[in-house]
Symmetry: C2
Subunit: 414 residues, 2 copies
């Protein structure tokens, strides 16, 4: 162990997920253990990420009870608030770095834990290098979160499993809903994921226990063809009248233009604005025009990233684990790393936590690999299902009050 | 008791809900008790409502186990399938009535249970009168279902409580989500309910345990004003940056035109079609134009009527009860009635089941009353909250398999 005494701070950045607070709870739990061991003095939370840190907007979380942490880990979105700000290059944003250093020193902070996605890992990398360059002993650890599951060097990201479970459950329920009528109808479900189709693959999990899943799945990893889409639907309609199609918001034509942009660019609203329809809405119009049958598009929207009432227990427990492991890694002397998951086996599922140098992680995107997409580019493979299945297992023991889940709100504490 | 021996048939009609299968399970449970007593011989299900019945598309449900019924009552949408067909006037649709009579006689059916909304109650009324007119002894009982809660003569409808719980939970989670950033942003949640605002009032339940609910709620019961809407948002923005607005899809201007139609009538898509935006999308553009801040609209869409994974236990248990009570009412000799709930008390909540003559029920709509809407017409009153609160209480003990809920699918049984 590389003994470094000081305080710790933890922040959250980027878009909300159902599990980012579980990771926060894991960091706090790890830090509390370190406080008991004498390594860490206090653990602070920074409000609204690095932006709030620069305003010295800190909250002392050292006395949070296990009950607080349990409730926190079942609360969606970032309890500390988030930001979209990333630290610039040190030579161009010298003032920002000096501000950060001043706040670090003012509170004797030697441990920084930053929970976030791609942009946040860039901030972790820059801050860790800056600290070295000015000779301030600091350990900066990144902990991944994103429902998009598109970070490299990790088997999956905390937050993905819960979003996937929400999507699988909701698509399954919609499959029951659309099957009640006998008329031909197409339901298009638009799922988040601008650059990678991971969340859309999760729609296939709707059929995990009864074999009835979406009829067609389209991902941004493969070029989208309107002709193929229409033919695919016609083929399914020969089997049954109600067709469910899952599409990623980021599907693109072969020339790289987004399906959403491509089919709606001429449409104007009453104010003369170009109407920005989603991919689902665009395809809804294609079905109406080309097939003439009943059609509806459903955009799963915000609940994908905040539906903690149907979180994956696997995801929440792993998020707690990786948060606590970040504290251990920092105590061991690591800095400028991101915590990762390494899968040992699909079934029975086993995963270990590691720490990877952040240099190759920030600013890279992990797409759904070819072997997870079927040859027709309209569905997923068995290999994909084997990868996905363990990530949504288990249900979280939620506390409901008055019929709705209880949430942890920092300003209401105490 | 008015002893009438014969078989029973049960059907489902209209739009799906998370509780319509619980009512079906209740009818089957009641019928099985009657089979044991010797009143009823068999209980059949009609596929796709009265339409399927006329095709003699029946399934024998007499041997369903308690385990089947438990799984069925946690499965969303209509397990028997549904239809939008309603029986016409007997003089104009004589053939249809003769077909129905023929199938009734062929299977010695003396009990018809029909679970549905407004249109279905009309079919119950017509069929019960027709049976009397031709001297065929038949007892026809309607059992209400609709997420819209807009049937008269009943305190509430089965299915509403579960939809309300889904909406309250989801809005609560979105309130956490939108609060993470510090920039001014408006989130508009569009909720089902073309004619009545009941489901939209349920958004207020998001704050039932921590007091943080939607900032503004607009219902179709009161005329909508763009000016007032913009002023309301500006006033809220002086308190906090993230504003959440719940609107019913059916909100209308003072002249009666829908907000959805009113603001999008000139917009055309690439095929030259008028673009049918929802109320949320229309208001999203108003906010962008008038306030210039970040804005997003979320249409809760299909999950409102099928999200059985977050059903209200109160709703599911009441749906089972009212289904079984329909069988008791039929055994007592009733016909041409709809089963209803009569509230005895808000807290502790108590409700009884009754049967009302259907004449005054079909084709009437129950709106949210004035005393449930605040003076500014942008929120709900304490009286409304007292009415809503008990309906979402309790969580259903779901069975998950492979991480998603287990559903009951009739064709997969046995």
């Amino acid at each position: 162990m590389n003994f470094l005494k000081g305080n710790a701070v933890v922040g959250q950045s980027g878009g909300p997920t159902a599990a980012i607070n579980a990771t926060l709870a894991g960091v706090i739990r790890g830090a509390k253990a370190a406080i008991a061991e004498g390594y860490i003095g206090k653990v602070y939370g920074m409000r609204n990420g690095i932006e709030g840190f620069m305003r010295e907007d800190l909250v002392d979380m050292s006395s949070y009870s296990e009950e607080d942490l349990a409730c926190l880990s079942h609360t969606p979105a970032a309890a500390l608030g988030s930001c979209r700000f990333r630290l610039g290059d040190p030579e161009r944003a010298a003032d920002d770095y000096e501000t950060v250093l001043r706040v670090l020193k003012a509170h004797d902070i030697r441990y920084v834990f930053y929970i976030g996605g791609n942009d946040s890992m860039d901030t972790v990398l820059k801050l860790s290098r800056y600290a070295v360059s000015v000779g301030y002993e600091l350990r900066v650890i990144g902990v991944p979160k994103t429902i998009d599951n598109d970070l490299v060097c990790t088997d999956h990201t905390p937050g993905f499993g819960s979003a996937a479970k929400y999507i699988a459950t909701t698509v399954k329920e919609m499959l029951r809903d659309i099957a009640v009528y006998t008329v031909r109808a197409v339901t298009i479900v638009e799922i988040m994921g601008r650059d990678a189709g991971w969340l859309t693959t999760a729609a296939a999990l709707a059929g995990v226990n009864d074999g009835i899943g979406p009829d067609l799945i389209y991902l941004p990893e493969k070029p989208f063809s309107i002709e193929q889409f229409v033919e695919d639907i016609q083929r399914v309609q020969m089997q049954h009248p109600a067709v469910l199609v899952a599409v990623s918001e980021g599907i693109r034509f072969a020339d790289g233009t987004y399906v959403s942009a491509g089919t709606s660019s001429d449409a104007k609203d009453v104010f003369g604005h170009t109407y920005l329809a989603g991919a689902g809405k665009a395809l809804e119009r294609v079905v109406k025009e080309r097939l003439g049958c009943k059609v509806r598009s459903v955009e799963l929207n915000l609940p994908q990233r905040c539906a903690s009432h149907v979180s994956s227990l696997t995801d929440i427990e792993e998020s707690l684990t990786i948060g606590a492991a970040a504290v251990t890694a920092a105590k061991e002397g690591k800095s400028g790393v991101m915590m990762t998951f390494v899968r040992q086996a699909d079934e029975p599922y086993a995963v270990t936590v590691a720490a990877e140098d952040i240099g190759g992680i920030a600013n890279a995107i992990r797409s759904v690999p070819d072997e997870y997409i079927n040859d027709e580019a309209n569905g997923v493979t068995d290999a994909c299902m084997r990868y996905l299945k363990p990530l949504i297992l288990g249900e979280v023991p939620l506390v409901f009050e008055g019929g709705v889940p209880k949430h942890f709100i920092i300003d209401r504490k105490g």
